[in-house]
Structures are given as C-alpha cells and as structure tokens.
C-alpha cells in the first residue's frame, strides 16, 4: 500500500481541520464612510462596494454611513473602545495624528512590506503633498482616498459685467479686495450682491483660517509635532484681520459666520460673485450654475500656499488578522487608479493616485472640464492639513473665536490670544508627556 493507514488518517484529520475554515464563507468587513458632498454619493459608494464584493468572492464588505467627518471620528473611537472596530474607515485626513497618538491606528508598514514593495514605492503612487497627513514618524498610517484644496470660484458673467477679466483672476489679496469691491452691488445701505463669501462653520472655518494664514506666509501648527499651534502670531493675525476687514471695513463679505452650504447656495444663486470653497464642491457647482464660472488658486498675500483637505483610508487598531488583510485589499482596490478616478469624477475631489490622471476616461473628462485641473495644479503649493493631539477641540478653540470676530463681537488680536490660551490648555497633557517631560 502506498498510503499507510496512519497517513490516510492524518490527511483526513487535516482535511477536517482545514474544511471548516473554508466553509465559513467570505470574510465580513465593515467600511465606515462619511458623506462628503450629498446623498447621491451615498448611492455611488454603494455601487463601488457592490462592485468590490462582486469581484472579490472571499470578502463581503458593507459600507456603513457614519455622518459628518467629526461624527465618523466619534463613532470609530466608540466602536474601538467597545471592542468592535470596523475594518476600514474613510477618515478625515487630519485626524490621523490624533488617532495615532491614542494608539487607535494600525501601522501599515508591515502590510506594505508583505506586498513586496517598499514604503517609498507605495507612497510614490500618490501626490507628494498628501503624504504629510498619511505618514507619521516615517511610518504609513493612512492611504489617501479623496482629497481637496480650497479654491476661488468666480462668477465669470458678473465679473465681465463689472468690467473685470475672468481669465485673469485675482492673484493677491489686494487684487481680491479690489475685485470684491467692484463686484459688490448696493442699493442705498442695502447690499444686493456680495463681492465674496468665505465659509465659517465648524470644520470649514479652521480650514479656511489655515489657508489664509498659509497664504500670508505663516503656519497654523507644528507639522512635525502634535503639541503646538500658532494662533497668536503675526501671520494669523494678518489673515484674520484681512478677513474681518472684508466684513467690517470694506463691507463686501456678509457679516457673521456663514456655513458652507449657505456659501455655495448664494454663489449659485448669484448673490455672491466669488466664493472660497473646496474643490469637493466643484461637481455641485458644475451641475447647478446657470452662468459661466471660473476656478482659480487661493490668492496670496505673501506666498501661494494651501492646506490639503479630504480623507484617507485607515485600518483601526485591534483587528483580527484575516479582517486586517481583507481591509487592506479593499483599501488597495479603492485607491487604485481606475477607482479613484471614477470617484473623483463623481465628487469633484481630486484623485490622490497620480496614475488616475493617465486613465483614458480621466483624460477625456479633463478635456471636457478643464476646471477640474485647477485643484491638481494647486497641489504643487499644497501642504499638510492641521493635525495635533486632540485635533477637533483644539480646532474649535480657534473657530469659536473667529466666529465672534466675524459677528463683530471681538477684535482679531484679542480673539487670537484667547484661542491660543484655550488651545495651549488642551495641549498641556500631551506636552507634559512629551516635550516638557525632561530627564
């Protein structure tokens, strides 16, 4: 006999052990996603995940809608603490540092190495500007999925009517102020059309402040270390003063803190001739504007610079190995050139994967919609997005004060000093553990 009885028995045992694993069926994983633009995208996300499941029979992914970017962070954290981490999350790119400090993220280095590529090769697929928010202490913690920069949107019809050339958009703050003055329409004391609208609501307000501060030559926070923000600085004071001057001095920007949807609505309806808004709103503007529009870089005072925005894919800590592997395959699939190009066309976000712009569909699309190129071009001057220990509360200390200024209740100088004080207080425990912990 070729096979001894013992060997046969052993094979049967091995078979019995191996079989249940196969019979268990596909690995079930959850992907948490916030809604970046509007409800139709929730359907697009459903389509994307359905396609993934159809092409990967051993994985069953479920897309779980989790509210705003801030809500998504709360839900992910609560799920991790409850011992039920999701397999992957589309997480606001600036929350990664805070989560890494709290040990809530899986370090992706070993997953990348297991694919036989180096970190540099892996990261090399993405625009360099995005790496600052994905790499922490030289380890990869996130994969860029959809990203944005702020843009200046201009109503070209109204610009022409005011004697301005929309093909030569304002490049400096001085020019922008000038444009805004010319574009504002008044009937007596009443303003019937605002020259410019800049959003200020939680999340958006901090991003716009960072953008203006960077264009003013400054920094918002320490990009290398999570314990410092630079609110009470000349560059930020200049930025906030200019914004406030648009409201209080030149009266070309509506007073008060305007949320993002109100800004896009007033631009679309012609009640604001220019607006600063994310490239993530581009598809919405393209679909709804009944006039010619232009998009341009955010004007500079000192230099051209913008923060990136948008979200990265992450894998939370504490996941079983099989789910981690399945999540990694999902992430690689979602950030592949074709998928990220498709998602970019649906949303207006740009595709982080550079190869996406070489796919035939994308080349076609950009030929038809040259405005989609602006954000990509602006990436050359883009820098990482505000990220510290306790990102959300630290961001809110500034936003609360900026809102007071725009409402005419505080002067920029005192507001920034108050914000700095509140933020320092929040950062204290982290600094005590790190930069102030002396040997």
């Amino acid at each position: 006999m070729l096979f001894s009885r013992r060997l046969m028995l052993g094979l049967a045992m091995a078979g019995a052990l191996a079989f249940p694993a196969l019979a268990e069926g596909p690995t079930e994983i959850d992907l948490f996603f916030p809604v970046p633009v509007d409800g139709k995208l929730a359907r697009d996300m459903g389509t994307l995940i359905k396609e993934f499941n159809e092409t990967h029979s051993d994985i069953k992914a479920t897309a779980v809608y989790t509210g705003s970017y801030d809500d998504t962070l709360i839900k992910t954290r609560a799920a991790i603490k409850a011992g039920k981490p999701p397999a992957a999350v589309i997480m606001s790119a600036n929350f990664l540092l805070d989560m890494q400090i709290e040990n809530e993220l899986t370090n992706l280095d070993s997953l990348i190495a297991a694919d036989g590529v180096t970190k540099e090769q892996f990261l090399g697929q993405f625009f360099p500007a995005l790496q600052g928010n994905a790499v922490i202490n030289r380890s990869v913690y996130g994969v860029p999925f959809h990203n944005s920069t702020p843009l200046l949107y201009i109503n070209a019809d109204q610009a022409k009517e005011a004697g301005l050339d929309p093909n030569k958009p304002p490049q400096t703050w001085a020019e922008l102020t000038d444009w805004a003055k010319k574009l504002t329409k008044r009937e007596g004391d009443k303003v019937t059309r605002w020259g410019i609208a800049i959003p200020c609501a939680y999340d958006y307000c901090g991003w716009m402040m960072e953008s203006l501060t960077m264009s003013n030559g400054g920094r918002y926070y320490n990009e290398e270390f999570g314990g410092e923000v630079y609110y009470d600085t000349p560059s930020m004071l200049g930025a906030l003063t200019w914004w406030n001057d648009l409201v209080a001095k030149h009266k070309v920007h509506a007073p008060g803190a305007t949320p993002g949807p109100a800004v896009s609505t007033s631009f679309i309806s012609g009640n604001a001739a220019m607006m600063m808004l994310s490239t993530g709103s581009l598809t919405y503007v393209r679909d709804n504007a009944k006039f010619a529009y232009k998009v341009a870089f955010i004007p500079r005072n000192v230099r051209n610079a913008v923060p990136i925005g948008g979200a990265s894919l992450i894998i939370p800590a504490g996941l079983e190995a099989d789910k981690q592997k399945a999540a990694w395959r999902l992430i690689k699939w979602m950030t592949s050139p074709e998928k990220s190009a498709w998602w970019s066309r649906a949303t207006g976000y740009f595709a982080p994967n550079m190869a996406a712009y070489k796919t035939p569909d994308m080349i076609d699309f950009l030929n038809k919609n040259p405005d989609a190129k602006t954000a990509v071009e602006q990436l050359d001057v883009a820098k990482p997005w505000f990220a510290t220990y306790k990102t959300v509360p630290v961001r809110k200390t500034l936003e609360d004060e900026v809102m007071l200024v725009l409402n005419g209740k505080k002067q920029p100088k005192e507001a920034l000093a108050a914000a700095q004080k509140a933020a320092d207080e929040l950062l204290k425990p982290y600094n005590a553990e790190t930069s102030l912990k002396l040997p």
């Binding site: 809604v35 139709k40 949807p261 896009s264 309806s269 808004l277």
Partner: protein, 289 residues
Amino acid sequence: MKLLKGLFEDAPLATRREITPKLGLALTVLLAIVWLIPFLWMVVATLRPASDGINTMAELIPSAKPTLDNIRDAWEIGDFPRYFLNTTFICTGILLVQFVTITLAGFAFARLAFSGKTLIFYLFLMQLMLVPVLLIVPNLRLVAQLGLYDTLTGVMMPFFASAFGTFLMRQAFEAIPTELEDAALIDGAGLLQRIRHIYVPLSLPSFSAFAIISVTSHWNDFLWPLMVINSPDKRPLTVGLSVFTATAEGTQAWGTIAAGTLMVIAPLLITFLIFQKRFISSFVTSGIK
C-alpha cells in the same frame, strides 16, 4: 371665524369687553404663523422642480409646475419604509418596557417604605443632569459585551429605565388617596393587583404625557443609533435622513432634503393631528405645561 365669534359674542359677559383674551388670541395666531412658515417652506420646496433654479429656493410661493421628483429621489436614496419600521420598533419597544419599569419604580418611591429611600431617589434624579453624550462610550462597551452591538435591542437598551418617567409616576401615584388602596387591601388585592387596578387606571394622563415625551425624543435621537447601528437595514429614520443632510464640503440639495424631512415627520404629524385633543388634555391634567 368661529374662534372670533366665540371670543366676541359667545364669551361670558364678564370677559366680553376685556382686552386680555383678544391679545392672547392675537399672540397665539402670531406664534402659529411663525411655526407654520418653515413647515410651509418645506412643503413648497419639496414640490419645487430643480429646473426652477436655486434662486427661487427661499420663496414661499409654490412653483407653477409642481413635481414629485424630489420625493422620488429621497425615496430612492433611502430605504424609507424600513427606516420607518425600525424607528417605530425602537420607539414602541422602549416605551413598552419603560411603562413597566417606571410604574414599578414610581410606585416603590411613592408608596413603599424602605431604608435610604430619599437618598436613592435623589441619586436616581441625578441621572437627569447627565448629558447623554457622556455615556456613549461606557454604554456602547456594555452593549457590545452583551452581544447587542449593531442590533435594535442595543439601541433601545439604555433607555429601558427612565429617571424622568419614574419621577413623573411617583408624583402621579402620590396624588392618589391611600384610602383607595386600603379598600382594595381589605378586599384582598395583592401588591401587583393594587397597582394594576388602582394606580395605573387613575394615572393614565401621566402615562400618555410620558409616552409623548418618550416617543418624540427617541424618534428624534440621532447620535446614539448612529453609534450602535452598522447594518444599513437597521438604520432608524434620523440616521437614514442625515445621509443627505450632512455635508462636509458645503453643498446641499435642498429639494431632496425637504422631501426627506417631510417623509420623516409625517407619521408623527399625522398622529398628532388625529389625537390632538387627547395630547393636550393629558398635558393639562398631568400638570406639565
């Protein structure tokens, strides 16, 4: 007009010439109009075709060519019948269990004598001071340990006991004369029988007042169900609706939002219109005004 007639002609002689009731009426009408405007806007916006453009979005004047497109869009984006079912299940489930717990706990605090009663009662009331958000993580951890993560039971669980309800029932039971209970006691009724036949029937207005508060607050709850539920088919209405109201980058489809909101509030609104009189009288008799 009947209202005006009642005020000016049928009113008791003593108040007919007084100015106060008329001012009161004027104020009520004013408040009603203020309340009605957003509601009207929602209906108008729901029926407005997207082709009218965003310029007309703020107007209260209905479109010349009303359309059901927005309702269809909202209906397609979310599985609304299922969301309705889930929300209804959550609200009734919570309420039914609450009825049992608040009746028994309210009775214990109102009528039973045990040591440390006042202290325990105050501890109980302190729960009212806690912001629910504070309890999300501990509650979620417990729900997960019980194997109820991503289940509707998990959504309901933390609300099975209600400090407010217990307080309300304690007040209601204390107002009932002990003689009634004594009479039942002489007839040989046990503890539960006394609660069932004396206390519960006499406190019905308080029960319905509590039911309204409980149902509306859980109908509107967003954050807790968002935390517990992962499966799309277990979403309640609030979470389902927010799919198209929450935005990150500043754009909104107002028509679809209006349509979705209308669909979400419709059941509560219809119930209110049907049981209007009942609702109001239960608040009046239970002393919540």
